[in-house]
């Protein structure tokens, strides 16, 4: 058993039978290793899974005890971060325009094809690709320039949220659970951008992170 905090939409009833929420392994864009993600019913939404993990924790769940004391969170994630992994791979391999369903192929992570079903994928993919239409069919190729522009918007949005939520971003080391009465006015705009860049870098590979920092 696991204890998980998820948005309500995760537990919406599926429109089709046998297409309820699905936990699946996909390639983490930052590490290149497998990580667990969650698709909502009908695969419309993608969620990343994080665990709050303190070493000395366990659960009582009903009339049972469970060693693993992790508390899981499923939070919405932009599927384009995962689509990017395959666009960049395709660009490195041959640099050709391809249909998305041929780009999103991975023997190790076969569920990556489900990213196509996410509502936002087709709606927003133009932010990170060059597109061509031939014979009514669309073909895509990674665009670094467009991707960096898109990522910058992500960073800017993140900066706004960090400020709004009073997240501590300055260099001083302090536990996040310590709540000071003092407003964090010491942080500069640079601090916020650096912090936001760092957060976004959790969702992209190292090369792209470096390019984004330069950008």
């Amino acid at each position: 058993q696991w204890v998980m905090v998820v948005p309500e939409s995760v537990t919406d009833l599926p429109k089709k039978p046998n297409s309820g929420p699905l936990f699946t392994r996909l390639c983490n864009p930052s590490t290149g290793q497998a990580a667990l993600y969650l698709f909502s019913s009908d695969s419309r939404q993608l969620f990343e899974l994080k665990a709050f993990h303190e070493e000395y924790r366990s659960w009582f769940i009903g009339q049972a005890v469970q060693q693993d004391g992790r508390l899981f969170f499923a939070t919405p994630m932009d599927p384009l971060f995962l689509v990017l992994v395959y666009l960049i791979k395709s660009e490195k391999e041959h640099g050709k325009f391809q249909p998305l369903d041929q780009i999103l192929v991975d023997e190790e992570f076969p569920s990556c094809s489900m990213l196509l079903q996410c509502t936002s994928t087709s709606r927003t993919i133009h932010h990170i690709v060059e597109e061509k239409e031939i014979g009514g069919k669309k073909f895509y190729k990674f665009s670094e320039e467009k991707t960096l522009k898109w990522l910058k918007k992500k960073v800017d949005q993140t900066v706004k949220v960090l400020k709004c939520h009073d997240v501590r971003v300055d260099a001083r080391v302090q536990t996040a659970t310590f709540i000071s009465g003092k407003q964090f006015t010491d942080a500069t705009e640079d601090d916020y951008i650096r912090y936001a860049h760092g957060l976004i870098s959790e969702y992209i590979n190292e090369d792209l992170s470096t390019a984004l920092a330069k950008y």
């Binding site: 696991w2 936990f23 983490n28 930052s30 590490t31 290793q33 497998a34 990580a35 667990l36 990343e48 899974l49 994080k50 665990a51 709050f52 993990h53 303190e54 070493e55 000395y56 005890v65 899981f72 969170f73 997240v167 302090q174 536990t175 996040a176 659970t177 912090y195 760092g198 957060l199 870098s201 959790e202 190292e206």
Partner: protein
């Protein structure tokens, strides 16, 4: 002796007392302190005080209070009734330290050992008598530990009082014997009427003497042990008898101060911290996540 307050919630400690007689509030009094139930692994420890005007000590002796350990339970009950009936010149107070309180105190991170607990309880009872208006002039205390140090501690706490701490004071001073009877009677009644909040099933009601070296008591402890929760709150978890059974038969539990326990540590060479790691290091997680102890999930 109305023990209902303790019986209703035997997880917490409880102080109860008689009314302070008018004579005790106007005349200098002698006050005796004794305890009951220090040794057993089961049930509460009870500290008792008994006091009367110095001039009436002879009347107290006439009640024939004697060393409570030599009396039967029934005899102690009878003597207590006589003490309680002597309301015009005898007063008493009791502090019942629940086994749960003893266990948690002794196992806190800032350890509160049994001696400190005992001394503080005794000090608290003397203060209670003073706060009730009793004109305490002399204090007599029974002790198992070093008498001089304890006497000095009490004298420092109560500089205006004449304090005498002696081993076997219960057989030397009638007022200590009386306190001993009050404490013992309270403990006997509480133990007899103990309500197990855990609703134990299939457990023998005969747990022997309650002393750690009693095989019947040890057998009972093993029988009522729950592998996850340990013992009922009737048991003093901090007693080594209980701890040994937990270590052998209960599920292991680790706390974040377990690392401070030398028996849990394995010696690690300082050089090991500088050793080259075989596995390639990946980018560390952003501080947003590690400050909040949030990790990426790779498996369930």
């Amino acid at each position: 002796m109305d023990l209902r307050a303790f019986e209703e919630d035997n997880a917490v400690s409880c102080l109860l007392d008689s009314a302070a007689p008018a004579a005790c509030r106007t005349q200098p009094c002698c006050l005796g302190i004794d305890e009951a139930g220090r040794g057993p692994v089961l049930g509460p420890m009870v500290y008792g005080i008994c006091y009367c005007p110095v001039a009436r000590q002879g009347d107290l002796e006439a009640i024939k209070v004697a060393d409570s350990k030599t009396l039967t339970e029934a005899q102690r009950e009878q003597l207590f009734e006589k003490l309680d009936a002597a309301k015009d010149f005898v007063g008493w107070a009791l502090h019942i330290l629940s086994p749960n309180f003893i266990s948690t105190s002794m196992q806190r991170r800032a350890k509160y050992n049994l001696n400190a607990l005992s001394h503080d309880t005794a000090i608290g009872l003397i203060q209670h008598a003073l706060d009730s208006g009793v004109q305490v002039a002399e204090v007599f205390v029974d002790t198992v530990g070093p008498a001089e140090k304890y006497q000095e501690k009490l004298k420092q706490q109560f500089p205006g009082l004449e304090v005498t701490v002696k081993p076997k004071a219960d057989s030397l001073f009638p007022v200590v014997s009386a306190a001993s009877i009050c404490a013992k009677v309270a403990r006997d009644r509480v133990v007899k009427n103990w309500k197990f909040v855990e609703a134990l099933e299939n457990v023998d009601s005969d747990y022997g003497s309650g002393y750690p070296n009693d095989p019947k008591t040890k057998e009972w402890l093993t029988q009522c042990l729950d592998p996850v929760f340990g013992f009922p709150q009737f048991v003093r978890f901090s007693w080594s008898t209980a701890q040994v059974i937990l270590e052998n038969k209960a599920v292991a539990v680790r706390w974040d101060d377990t690392e401070d326990d030398p028996s849990q540590k394995s010696a690690q060479s300082l050089l090991s911290y500088f050793a080259r790691k075989d596995t390639p290091t990946r980018r560390p997680a952003h501080r947003f996540f590690y400050e909040r102890k949030l990790e990426t999930v790779t498996s369930l």
